[in-house]
Symmetry: none
Subunit: 287 residues, 4 copies
Amino acid sequence: MEATTNSTWRKKLHEIIYEADTPSGKLFDIILLVLIILSVIFVMLESVSSIDLKYHNLLYIGEWIITIFFTLEYIARIITVKKPFSYIFSFYGIIDFLSTVPLYLSFILAGSNYLLTVRALRLLRVFRILKITRYVGESNKLMKALRDSRPKILVFLFAVLIMCIIFGTLIYLIEGEQSGFKSIPVSVYWCIVTLTTVGFGDIAPVTPLGQFLAALIMITGYGIIAVPTGIVSAEYTRNTKPIKIEDEEYVHVNTQICQSCGTAKHRDDAKFCHKCGEALHQAENLG
Amino acid sequence: MEATTNSTWRKKLHEIIYEADTPSGKLFDIILLVLIILSVIFVMLESVSSIDLKYHNLLYIGEWIITIFFTLEYIARIITVKKPFSYIFSFYGIIDFLSTVPLYLSFILAGSNYLLTVRALRLLRVFRILKITRYVGESNKLMKALRDSRPKILVFLFAVLIMCIIFGTLIYLIEGEQSGFKSIPVSVYWCIVTLTTVGFGDIAPVTPLGQFLAALIMITGYGIIAVPTGIVSAEYTRNTKPIKIEDEEYVHVNTQICQSCGTAKHRDDAKFCHKCGEALHQAENLG
Amino acid sequence: MEATTNSTWRKKLHEIIYEADTPSGKLFDIILLVLIILSVIFVMLESVSSIDLKYHNLLYIGEWIITIFFTLEYIARIITVKKPFSYIFSFYGIIDFLSTVPLYLSFILAGSNYLLTVRALRLLRVFRILKITRYVGESNKLMKALRDSRPKILVFLFAVLIMCIIFGTLIYLIEGEQSGFKSIPVSVYWCIVTLTTVGFGDIAPVTPLGQFLAALIMITGYGIIAVPTGIVSAEYTRNTKPIKIEDEEYVHVNTQICQSCGTAKHRDDAKFCHKCGEALHQAENLG
Amino acid sequence: MEATTNSTWRKKLHEIIYEADTPSGKLFDIILLVLIILSVIFVMLESVSSIDLKYHNLLYIGEWIITIFFTLEYIARIITVKKPFSYIFSFYGIIDFLSTVPLYLSFILAGSNYLLTVRALRLLRVFRILKITRYVGESNKLMKALRDSRPKILVFLFAVLIMCIIFGTLIYLIEGEQSGFKSIPVSVYWCIVTLTTVGFGDIAPVTPLGQFLAALIMITGYGIIAVPTGIVSAEYTRNTKPIKIEDEEYVHVNTQICQSCGTAKHRDDAKFCHKCGEALHQAENLG
């Protein structure tokens, strides 16, 4: 008898936590979302020294309350689910774990509480919660296009990295340490900054030859940005093809006109008018 | 009698203000465009201290004259239109309102007159006024492609934002406050600056690990810029496909089968079989 | 008699100057190209003070020699062409004129000789000279795609400009003059710098609200770069549509006509008419 | 007898070095990859002064060991291959040579050992070694799309360069030397930095006219980035196009099989076999 009660209780909790169709499930999900957003804002604000000075205790308490709630939720998720391990090691399971642990760790490792912003990943649930299937569909299509493009994009990024190592060494040899190119790793970093057209400007070439090489790197970066774009574009276009003529439901028609009723646009192989049933002249069929 | 005159007067004013086909309507629209451009220039110049010192009065008077004209025009638009409220709460109605209010507000709230640059939005009328249907057509097609891509772009930007929050926290923990990464919000801001390849350079990582993470963010940003481009590109390509089914040479056929010779794929409007000339049953034609 | 000699002389000169098929015409074109490149380099080097100090006279004399050559060439082009005015006001005619005038102007207006770099435009002749039709073809296709995309791109840039005016005003009001946002025009300039993801960093927001707005502008710029790309991409794809036919369900048909029933469009490998079963003549099958 | 042993020995070495199918060949390739990565890291770290101070000897010895290994490998490759010269002057042959020479050169030319980072190019072998044909296929498709786009991209970059020379001269004349635009070459460099949306910010216009021109350059750069993207995108799409049939010369065929000769793929409307002239069964025509 008690086992049944227990199982009913677990079933209900499961319904609330995992499903978003019942009113209580919906409420739970909305509360969760609000708490996630709040807690991310709390952690971010805590790092702003002027705000932290004034409201430290408030933020600290808020963080603890939300973390305890998340911990309880995490435990509830494990208890109520049928296969606890498949949840624990799933994408969301790991994120849920990482969303509670950092604050406990902060006793041992100062500053680790900032890692709580990993909770932002939990916001990805919003798509599931809001049941906006349109968004989920889009997101799936996007993911598919990205997944299909992955090998190509990886080949591309690998080539870019090799390019950056070689160009970085060259610029290091040309500019030397006095221009800020302190070492090859820093020069490779600068090369990535330049090739991706970010261009911080904290390090910049000053010799004519260095500027010439920089111009070359920029133009290369400007030109090859086309490559990943072209890949994803082609991949995505392939997944969203419009209606095509080869469609079984369309046939070619010609300009032949029925001599009896004047109807035009007959099938190329028509022998009789589809309007009045009159025989079409074979001679005209030649055209 | 007077009501008729009144209504004639309103009708004429409506013609001048809302239509651009009559000579007076065209003249009105051109004057409007010139005044909009002039007033935006006035407001911008007023903010340049060296120019404001010399020509303050001139600019101030010019602004007031144009604003009074716009106010009168706004009132005229409300009076002459049949459904005033649908105008007031329409896109252009709100812009017209926002184009007059800030100057009156500047008595209460200093500096609010600069908000008059919102008038620039009124320039969007130029497409309607110049009657360049080609441009309007393009603009509509563009808007359609953008509207169709919106859910995908939103999913994308949402994912980018979450990425920036997490990367921003990491760089804050790695670099710390002495490199300019004062707080997590500032670090997230820097992360957006880097990921979008803007790269101001007011804040830049200095530690090797920070530069490594920055390089990762840049390459990510450089790689995923392909995503929105691919989306809009595919969406736009879909809207401007070269061969369309409406093509005169193709007609739709259905699955109906001739009871006499068994020929399938008749035109939707076929009354007789094009193969054997047998009458097709009308009842089946409905499907 | 003399007139004939004169006309023969002009004809020959025309051949040398305007055509690139004869050996002398080819030589002339190559000399021209070398001189254009040399003169652009001369003008650029003259602006480098360290080089100018040492080699001023050399560069000055070189510039004058090339300019006199170009002047003579310009006169020769006018003399030998049939319709001088259509040359003078053509694209290349205007460039040729602008390539000689600045040096003469430098007597009146100091520094105008630097405008000689406009000569770089003459390098566009390289495509004509090298007779690389492939390149010319590509260039034409590119130009066509760009010309077709123009109205859309203009609508897009117009919208971007209006956006920059409004965002520029907002950031001016938020950041104020102490952060470098001296006036609305400067703020609009900064907004363009940010939206196009250039990001010089000479001006950068420092207040949280300003940084938030900046992040918004960047993400907008990062997102809408997809629009012109999508446009040109779609336009270009349209011009280079391939036709592929490996599809199993389609076979190639030819124009052969059955001598018995007049049916056309038989499979290439057809031996009998698919309509009436009559043997098709093998001889005609060869075509 | 000895000749045979020799040839067997060479054959076995060839198998190990050039092939990756046997266990020893695989092991050799993996060791090679690890050594390449190690040596690139060694060279990079050596340029970091703080690390070099501590571990100079370790890095120096490591570099020499790897270089000697590479030298032996290079010699072995020449000995075991059938046509040594076609290897020496092949892409990989030249890279292998450049991967050993710089260290020996460093006795004569200080700093040339840094050129060892050219070894990073050897990492391209990873695709061959790992036998990830999928990656190789993608890489080939990418290379094809890039090769096909080359003439177009070159025309584009040529036009961009001419644009940068002219805009660079204009900004030099407008801004002058006091704003950092020291000479025309530097201004052209700045123009490339701006047009490619890199925007270091080490040089930035300060006059209103200069900022206006800069805004123009940026918008141009932002707009024309669409061109290479559109090109590669179209080229790439062309390689992965689906099938189209609006072409007049193709007709739809079905899976019907002639009962007399067994020929398949008849036109949908065929009544007789196009191969043997046998009548096709009407009943089967229904499908």
